[in-house]
């Protein structure tokens, strides 16, 4: 693996790291297996790409993606908490609807962003050499997201959100609506995933309607790798783990590609990776 491969993996790990933090919220904090993220990642990319082609400031396009993702999360939340549709199905319904919506937003399956003003082209103007400029920007964004998330999860509402996933009976006994908390968690989670989609689109130079396939599995892989390697003794540690997990995940993908694996086999590899990590505790127990 040469240096440019390493830098690419690092950049991807950081850009998708925001998505992994979103998956961490739904999967770990809320204990809600939310599949909408396969639709909200490309949603963020679509919104951002569409705004960029209209000449909007790329940073504003990130905020627009964040909001769009939040709305998508609210829809999954509504399907689950108000219409009582099971979490998995609620996520699948949102994801499926988003496929059509994303096509509508983009007007076509793919929008190239080459030559458009992006967050990366803006940072390049500051005169720092590549790859430092890109890395600094990505690290800055993920640090802001991580610390805001850490802070939020240590507020009163944040405590309630965490307890909702951990013991919903307890949170109801505390006079708090588990439905409102689920809604809030799904909004936050999908907002971050869409933000990540916008970052990824600008990073890779295009938005594609199919770029969301396998997002949930990649997100899960990142979360789980982080837990195994960094741990989850506190929220601060756990969110570091998620970001590190995301970076390591992209590295392992690059290595697999370097070893001659076909790109089309990667989804299978990722799924296997998640299966192995998810079953390790059980296998360990069985062997004892």
């Amino acid at each position: 693996m040469n240096l440019s491969f390493a830098i690419t993996s690092l950049e991807q790990g950081l850009a998708f790291g925001v998505m992994a933090l979103g998956v961490f919220i739904s999967f770990r904090i809320l204990d809600f297996a939310d599949l909408s993220v396969d639709g909200t990642l490309p949603l963020g990319a679509a919104v951002s790409a569409r705004l960029l082609t209209a000449g909007i400031n790329p940073f504003y396009s990130l905020i627009a993606a964040l909001l769009a993702g939040g709305i998508a999360g609210a829809i999954t939340g509504f399907l689950n908490t108000k219409l009582k549709i099971a979490p998995l199905l609620a996520g699948i319904l949102t994801m499926t609807s988003l496929y059509s919506i994303n096509l509508r937003i983009m007007g076509r399956p793919n929008i190239p962003l080459i030559g458009k003003s992006t967050i990366f082209s803006l940072i390049e103007k500051l005169g720092l050499p590549y790859p430092w400029n890109h890395l600094i920007l990505l690290i800055l964004i993920i640090i802001i997201v991580k610390f805001l998330l850490d802070a939020f999860l240590n507020t009163q509402i944040g405590f309630a959100l965490r307890a909702t996933g951990d013991n919903p009976q307890m949170i109801r006994s505390m006079g708090i609506s588990t439905n409102s908390m689920k809604m809030l968690g799904l909004i936050l989670s999908n907002a971050l995933v869409a933000l990540s989609g916008a970052m990824v689109a600008q990073y890779q130079g295009f938005s594609d309607v199919n770029m969301g396939v396998g997002t949930i599995v990649a997100g899960l892989a990142s979360v789980i790798i982080g837990e195994v390697i960094i741990g989850k003794s506190s929220i601060m540690i756990a969110t570091i783990g998620v970001v590190v997990g995301s970076i390591l995940y992209r590295f392992s993908i690059s290595i697999a590609l370097n070893l001659g694996l076909a790109a089309s086999d990667l989804k299978l590899l990722t799924a296997l990776l998640v299966i192995i990590f998810l079953s390790t505790p059980r296998i360990k127990k069985a062997l004892r």
């Binding site: 939020f152 240590n154 507020t155 009163q156 509402i157 944040g158 405590f159 309630a160 965490r162 307890a163 951990d166 013991n167 009976q169 307890m170 949170i171 109801r172 006994s173 505390m174 006079g175 708090i176 609506s177 588990t178």
Partner: protein, 265 residues
Amino acid sequence: MLKLKDLEKIFYKNTPNENIALNKVNLNVKKGDFITIVGSNGAGKSTLLNSIAGVFPVESGTIILDKEDITGKSEYRCAQKIGRVFQNPLAGTSPEMTIEENLSLAISKSNNLSLKWGLSKHKRKVMKKHLAKIDLGLEERLTTKVKLLSGGQRQALTLLMATVANPRLLLLDEHTAALDPATAIKIKNLTAELVNENNITTLMITHNMEDAIKMGNRLIMMDAGQIIYDIKAEEKENLSIEKLLKMFEIKHGGKFNNDRMLLSV
């Protein structure tokens, strides 16, 4: 304080399995009452508490708590005024969160949730004071995750969490039944202490006749979805287990069928 009027709860209504769990229950609870509730298995004791707590809607009747009609309100809304402790010592706390994080939720219960920090120096001081009361040394372990505590420690913490915000009503459903005898005694003493200290109106289901007689100022016996005895003040003080069982047999027309209850006599 709490007024139940013709409360009726029917499970599987209009099916062959129709089950009248509460049959027109009437009850008038005064402020500061500590009522113990006994009755055979399936008498409707838990259903009574669940109905008051808004766990499920009732078929008919009204529940007035503190002059407010709470009939049909959702569980979390009722919980804003009601503290609860369940039989399962794991039910009342969040295992992955620390002792201080759990307690923080209970202390903020009376306020609306906000984006203020969940913990503060002041809050920690208040928590330590409260934890010192339960005398398990938990005040020195604020940052310990609750999943590392024993069942008894968790139940003590749950009890503290249920009472710390001064609820209008405290509902206890066999909350010591899953604990070992020594721990159960500790939790019972703690219950009496916390309830008396804050003069909290309390309904406590117990399968232990002796506790039912010893604790509280009023005893209710339920059978087949109805309150068959409501024993107060002096009459309660002169009660014995034998008398209580005899009273049951008179109304019920048969022996007490709660094995656990007889065993624990």
